[in-house]
Symmetry: C2
Subunit: 338 residues, 2 copies
């Protein structure tokens, strides 16, 4: 790092102590206006920026929050979450340290440990698996805010999405279109986001006296391929259901493609729904009916919770929030073919 000017540098030029300079720059009441003026001018000329690390060290504060995700983009929607975290943090003068774990629990924990060492005041984590033991070990006394739904909602700080309700909404929409033979397609590895969808789906189907079919195939790391595989399996065992709900938009893309390659039209022969409302679903040729998860809201809430925890004081915080998905109807679902 190049040598940047410090309070002392300014003091030497102004013929003052670094203490007086510090006070002048922070507009303390016990410094004369003339001195303040003079000091500020010198600081400007030198391009002085306070060393926040030193300030935070003395004040035992932090001006950064951490965030660890399995990956940015790349079949996740954490990029949307981050954009909001960044905006909310910047508005309160906080920087955000971000780490991409590349879906590796070891790297995930390392990111946490490095951030704790670098004095972030709180960490927002979207864990890559449901095993969060190493994360908690790495964070020790630094508060961790879990997002993404893979963790137990009983964690102290958790901003989750109600995937059970996703199941309800999906069944509501498809049954409303007259579908009775509906299958849910999911993939491994098993985690809360998947099992919640399965539970919500099964319950909603049974409430309507319909038989829930759930098919797991493939792996989350290549959800698109999992969708292709699922269709193969379904078609081998007779005529497919009239409607398919996929655990993610990526999977839905693979499913729709596989169906079309087999000569089945969407939604003519089979209606297809996804989950997450990622960008490409809006692409006119795709027009995917899906469930929107409010990622931007979650990001904003996470940043605000993190900063509230850091600034502390008596301010009350809402440590757990459940966000609700909402239905987005596009062209990939339609009335059941009689």
């Amino acid at each position: 790092m190049a040598d940047r000017p410090t309070l002392k540098t300014i003091g030497q030029i102004a013929g003052l102590s670094h203490v007086a300079v510090s006070k002048a720059l922070r507009d303390a009441p016990d410094i004369s206006a003339a001195t303040k003026e003079r000091v500020r001018k010198i600081a400007d000329e030198l391009g002085y920026t306070p060393n926040l690390a030193a300030r935070n060290l003395y004040l035992r504060r932090s001006s950064a929050i951490g965030m660890v995700v399995p990956a940015m983009g790349d079949s996740t929607a954490y990029d949307l979450v981050f954009n909001e975290v960044s905006a909310a943090a910047a508005a309160m003068d906080f920087c955000v340290m971000l780490g991409s774990s590349h879906r590796d629990t070891q790297l995930e924990a390392r990111h946490c440990a490095m951030m704790v060492g670098n004095q972030v005041g709180a960490i927002i984590v979207a864990p890559c698996t449901s095993d969060i033991s190493r994360i908690k070990a790495a964070c020790a006394s630094t508060p961790v805010i879990f997002i993404g739904g893979k963790t137990d909602p009983e964690e102290q700080y958790a901003l989750l999405c109600d995937y059970r309700r996703s199941g309800v909404l999906a069944v509501e929409h498809l049954a409303g279109l007259g579908h009775r033979d509906i299958a849910l397609l999911t993939y491994g590895p098993s985690n809360r986001t998947v099992s919640q969808k399965e539970e919500g789906f099964a319950e909603a189907m049974e409430r309507r006296q319909l038989t829930p079919r759930i098919l797991r195939s493939g792996d989350a790391a290549d959800a698109l391929q999992a969708g292709v595989d699922a269709v193969e399996t379904l078609l081998e065992s007779g005529p497919p259901p009239t409607a398919l709900w996929c655990a993610s938009d990526y999977m839905a893309i693979g499913v729709m493609d596989a169906l079309r390659r087999r000569g089945l039209s969407v939604p003519g022969d089979v209606s297809v729904m996804g989950h997450d409302d990622l960008f490409f679903g809006r692409y006119p040729d795709v027009g995917l009916t899906t469930l929107h998860t409010p990622m931007a809201e979650i990001g904003r809430a996470a940043a605000e919770l993190a900063i509230a925890l850091i600034e502390g004081g008596g301010r009350e915080v809402c440590p757990r929030q459940i966000f609700r998905p909402s239905l987005v109807v596009r062209g990939s679902t339609g009335p059941v073919r009689l």
Copy 2:
């Protein structure tokens, strides 16, 4: 922040000075093995993590790099860049502070200033416009590595992509398929990435004795719509070119959709190419022929350059690198219809 244990805490328990503890933990040669053992055990029990801010303060070092982008995801490919920056940085024990400017030059500069204050040793910036004056003002003596191609390649540190060559590759591919009436579709606001594509395209066309048609319409903030608009304009003035090269994949999506809505088939009637190789181009129904920009490589190079600049020493660094795009052929381009 909760009170975390410090060297002094450990020293009190071990009956040693904080200095001895510091040495023991860093395995200094002048501490007895027994003491080291004892100290390390206490540190483990307490979950001690060194305060890197304090260490860096004394050592006048930094263990973080900054990165500022117009947005994560959201029609950019900076998520791919970030994933690599994060991995490369973590491998060298560096944290990454990331800021999303939301395409606002003021917020962009604020992120830089906050990161400089928080002692990042270098900043990687993908500027949202070609006006980088505020960025440089905010960063003062902290080195800035420019990526993304909107800035002057003569900047001290710049990792760019040769968009001129994109033009050459696009023309080569389309002309090779027999196309002679080829148009380049771009959008505002004007910046180097756009003008380089235009220049490369025009040159390559002229070298083949072909007349370059370039049409600018709409705005980068909604590239998809810009594509739709461009097609409208083209079709108003007679039969469209047989091939269209779009300044970005997003624009190409809009273009293909608009063409199909007008009853023209892709690539049957019109071949369409994009630029950037974003994920959705791989979606089978899209199958976009495009130009791949090596974002992952740029990310890795940027992180390595940043850290080399920080660690300094005599190590030589390559301050400017130009990366080459490569052609990705999928289904949206085909032989010219005779």
